[in-house]
Symmetry: D2
Subunit: 436 residues, 4 copies
């Protein structure tokens, strides 16, 4: 019965995915995306929470400048988002929580879907499916290049399943459509709103990491790297480089020094570390001593403790680099993720239900991520309160890697995702026979 | 008689200056400026030479990309520049040479006026004269912040003087309205066209360096710093900084290394040296190993030889910095100036004629520039062929320094400039009594 | 019977250890140590091979300068080493291979013991056992601070056991007393002599890593880090730093640059990496541009391939750092180790024999070393030819860590070592009942 | 008469010079040198002041460690220096002031001669005069490679002249035999003792800078560079670079960073600057994170103010470099010199007396030094109190440059030096006819 539901909804999954793909939005500017999700969920009978009802404003990280937020709200308005919605979301309070209470005693299950896009200019290659099928990004320099369009579509598919099968289910369901996953910026703000404090089963997932066959599902994920994202600004003093070089305070030299010295943070015997200075923009003109330079940096560690070590080292180096050249140092933390462990029971649970769906052809135990995901804040919160949490990976061939301008995947993976969530739902909350 | 001519032309000087100030154009995009100058000179009876008739295309340095040139040509067209002019100037062949032959035997005199503006956003302060009088730059991020608007107006004033007094003068006059002085990019291209090869007297000048009284004129300038401008691009290989950092080739680390090491070029016992990395832009995103970084650099030396030493050291360091991180290094020389000496006779000559003009209240011997000017190529060419050359400085109070967003000067200095050039003209080419 | 042999030999073990401790010798200067070992082995009936009969001269790494070798030979002569021995060993051909053929068919077993000391000044603290018992190093700045004095004593104990029990044993035994283990300099030279090409069972070991109880033995070791040791010399040109700084070629700046940039070699997704610049000596005087600077560097990698990556990166950076400052770069590889795996059967074998010795109280499976040992060349050679190889660790409390000026261990660990080797010997070559 | 005195004393000059050359002593260890000078001066009738009677202990800079001072005192004792002298000089209170009061009213004249040697190993080349004539340095690694042996000999020659001609002279004479000129360490300690507070005429000098003809004398010197000498120690924490690199605090990285960043102190528009890191010694072993590194640094500036700028920049960079790597920074100022101007009257005075001596063949106006000399403290003190001061240069061919292992000069230059001082003495204090 689940399989036939999935079959029926496939045209909607594709439509949703392509709609989101056409209008990608960066973290905390997902005004249109949130609106479209919300309208669907209302139709499906969910109670929805947006704006500061969905997340704790002060816990968001790396929120864009007011100027950008205003531009983006204007854009969203032009795209048809209603004024009343924009009012609630204004200031970058995007994303949405949705509740569905069956009214019958049962467990509390929660699922999380991330909805933001990336600052990448989508390829114009003719071979790229969005170009062939007419759903290339309408927004220059913004692209769903990490599959969150598919995640969001899966989330709507899961919502539709809950709505369709509500008679047979018990318990309470919470769906979190999270903004700002890229850079680790949005999860904590939802966690701190308390959505997960009494959750019994929590699941989230990602499409297309390593497994290239549609149908393969990793029941759990490990090797999440803890990570911190820092923006640094050095402010010095301009001077004419020919006439009075000694009058300047060289912010660019401070930034260059910081860049070099950050990479010399010692390796750690306790596990993996990473450091990257991804961007450096400094100086205003060739013959002027640079009075400003900006850096975008990230640290990672195999554990939260090791990442903490990296951040502490980085902070000291960043300040000392400013001091080297007598310039001011301003450091802003704009993102953060932690380590987490999935509950191993999910391997057994997924394996059990897999047999009941033709969509799931193989269940793997654990996928080592070796990357960072702020879903770890959610997993940890659930587990701290005794719930069971996992992060699944849904296999699919991908055209070029994640975050690439030509990233794409097999849209059939969305069916597998919906099927997996639906099977889990039924396993824990089904009252009559619905599987098969 | 010169003084009364100057008095009469003052309204025109102010109008010209403000017109140029409203429409500032960067080096090799002075399409409108060249057009406006040309139209005036034609009216005044000059023979003019534009496009590749004015300069040697291949000797220009730091010409903008084709894309920018096309945009700027479109802009100029929209501002009313005639198609036939644009055709000749297309591809960044701006600037103009003008000839006036009296038909009577006499010396060949040449004057140079630079016409380009700077990539600076003009201040919006109410106290700034261009804001009060309505001649603020129409072009965001471009501004006449070094007085070349005044230089150009002086040049037109001198042309008007030649035209008005032609009956009393003998010899040949060449006026060079040079593009791309900023960064030392345009002079050599005019020099190599041969305009100065048989010149007997050459003069150019600048307004507002150090002397703050209108009426003070430095007869000569010294301490020109030789200078070279370099653009550097490092090209490496992107990689995910968390997943596979070892796969990247980090162009940003190469650029940071180059920045630091360039400043460690040894001081030179032979005289002043300067090095500046004015701009560094590198990297595409926080979690990506940077695959590209660009630097804007300048070297200077008290002599051409010392600057050559700086360039050689810089070249080696730039290449080795690329090699450090296994990235490609591309270096483009986008500007160049040399040292030069003015002929000392000009001190005597200026002192003699100063007495005949109420505009010139004081003549100083030499102004140490301690900066770079590509007029030095012109001075050297004239002197190599036995001519006498100078570069004058015309005093004026200035509001904030040169290249500042609120740079401004006393417009009366333009009268002093015209008077000085006119007096010199009369000294060497006057046939009847015209002074006083 | 093994236990009683061990009991009897304990006074000799202690005497040997203390004799070696008094006269520690650095890699390739173990003239006296080799001589003392050789004399004992001859008495025990071994056939010995010294000088170029023991190792391939050209495969040694980091051999000291001729001047130092001559000094050390003089010292050894003064200590009583016979001329004929010195002649064979001259030029740093220290170390020794010994053969014992039972004449009866059986397996070929080989054991390796390392014999060199470290350039450390032994503590003068009264609490330090060598000070209390009068066996502190006689050689200022040289010390057995890594337990190789104990390893050598164990080796002689094993030789004595072979000699004593020869009637009951079959097969062939090879003992390698290896010079220059510190820095990974001597193993390859013995391996390439062919000593291990037909060995069936190979074992070596170390005392005192992590396990603090005497009696605990790790049957195998893993996590050997592959490592390479580099000495770098930059040669520039001196100049008076005040009078003519530009005439210098600054070797110290090159060395400082290399130091910084080496640490920025990217972390590797495939496993652990390490880089260390342990020493930098540069420059001759405060007011002189430094014309020479020397670096001592090591790289490590979790696998031989990852270490190779580190070395390749380091080589490029080292050369480019010289190029940065226009100085000559000379790089010498003075040590090398590779990764290796022990055969897992040893866990079972050791566990079996442990029960037969009261000296061995506990057998652990594998000790993760996380350090480098050139015994890995030996392990790999044995395994390539189908033999079984292991590297054991013998627990002991230690006073301060390895390579510390106050390093010391419980001398009882030597009995455990001899017992373990003897048990293994009996397991594979015993013909009559000798155990218990 | 002066010339004949000089002629007669030439054998003594040579003997003195060679005696000092054989026994060169570094700054503040000139025990033997001071003793030999003192004994001569006592014979000549001078009142001498040694130990803390000659200089202010606390104003000395860069005094060697107590251990070295004790060794050197032992050495001096072995060379025959009397106990009573050593007692007064102990602790590095070397150097000597001498007074000669004619008892007749007249000016106070003071002369300074520097007496220290350099830490250079003298060449063993056969062509080197000290090798040919048997006066090569007896002290390995110490050499008179800057001519102070000659300066001291000249000083004794001048003393002999004063003694010989005392009947004809009036006024008071002070001779300062200064320790620790190299590195700018000793002058201030003599100045602060007050020797120069009421001096009317002060002269000092150097042999062999630029002028290669014996007989040429520069009457004055200019372009003294102000300079400061710094010793820096970084103290971190050692750790095994393979096992626990994160536990270390890397003093060598701090020192390498400091080295690089010091060279990036901006050039100064006000005049020459210099920076040099002449020595860096750091780290204890290849596989240990370095816990200590030491730097020897000097700054220079065309003026005292510019040098002050360099020192302030250097101090900030040195501390920040320690902070970069979390290590302790210790900075000691071990030397200092300032700018100074000679009185121009000396050009006239020297020119006048030159005619009266066949030894002085040419008088030049001023020699630009472009180096540092702590005689500037003396010049400034004399001039502050209204006296007239100069620093002369005496021409001579030199074999290799100053501070070179094969430095040597024409010993005839000493005669010129004595003649010049004597002529000046007579010019201002002669009562009867003594010249010619």
């Amino acid at each position: 019965m689940i399989d036939s539901f999935v079959k029926d909804i496939e045209p909607s999954l594709m439509k949703w995915r392509r709609d989101f793909h056409r209008k990608p939005e960066l973290g905390f500017t997902e005004y249109l995306t949130t609106y479209l999700i919300g309208k669907e969920l209302l139709n499906l009978g969910f109670t929805i929470y947006i704006g500061q009802d969905a997340l704790v404003s002060s816990e968001r990280m790396g929120v864009p400048d007011q100027e950008i937020l205003l531009q983006q709200q204007e854009r969203a308005k032009a795209e048809g988002v209603e004024e009343s919605w924009l009012e609630k979301m204004q200031g970058g309070h995007t994303g949405l929580a949705a509740r569905f209470d069956t009214g019958k005693p049962g467990p509390h299950m929660a699922f999380r879907f991330d909805i933001d896009a990336l600052p990448i200019k989508e390829t114009s290659q003719g071979t790229h499916l969005p170009n062939q099928k007419g759903f290339r990004s309408h927004y220059e320099h913004v692209m769903h290049a990490c599959g969150h369009d598919g995640h969001t579509a899966i989330g709507l598919g899961v919502a539709a399943f809950l709505s369709a099968c509500q008679e047979n289910l018990c318990g309470i369901f919470t769906l979190l459509f999270q903004p700002g996953e890229e850079g680790g910026r949005g999860a904590m703000a939802m966690v701190d709103k308390g959505w997960l404090d009494d959750v019994d089963y929590f699941a989230s997932g990602h499409i297309g990491i390593r497994h290239s066959n549609v149908g393969v599902v990793s029941a759990t994920t490990n090797s999440f790297l803890a990570s911190t994202k820092l923006n640094v600004t050095y402010r010095g003093k301009a001077a004419h480089a020919g006439l009075e070089p000694e009058k300047g305070k060289n912010a660019l030299l401070a930034a260059a020094a910081a860049t070099l010295h950050l990479y010399s943070i010692p390796r750690h015997s306790g596990g993996k570390t990473r450091i990257n200075v991804g961007k450096l923009h400094g100086g205003s003109g060739r013959n002027i001593v640079a009075d400003e330079a900006k850096l975008e940096i990230e640290t990672r560690g195999e554990t939260t403790a090791i990442n903490h070590y990296m951040v502490e080292e980085a902070m000291r180096i960043l300040h000392a680099s400013g001091e080297l050249y007598g310039v001011e140092t301003e450091i802003e933390t704009v993102g953060n993720t932690v380590e987490a462990d999935c509950d191993q029971e999910w391997i057994q649970w997924l394996s059990e239900v897999a047999g009941q769906s033709s969509y799931i052809t193989e269940v793997n135990e654990a996928m080592p991520l070796n990357a960072s995901e702020d879903v770890t804040f959610m997993i940890n919160r659930v587990r701290e309160h005794g719930g069971k949490a996992t992060y699944m990976v849904f296999g699919t061939p991908i055209i070029e890697g994640h975050h690439h301008a030509a990233f794409d995947y097999d849209e059939d993976v969305m069916s597998v995702g919906v099927a997996a969530f639906a099977q889990i739902i039924c396993k824990f909350t089904q009252q009559k026979e619905v599987t098969g």
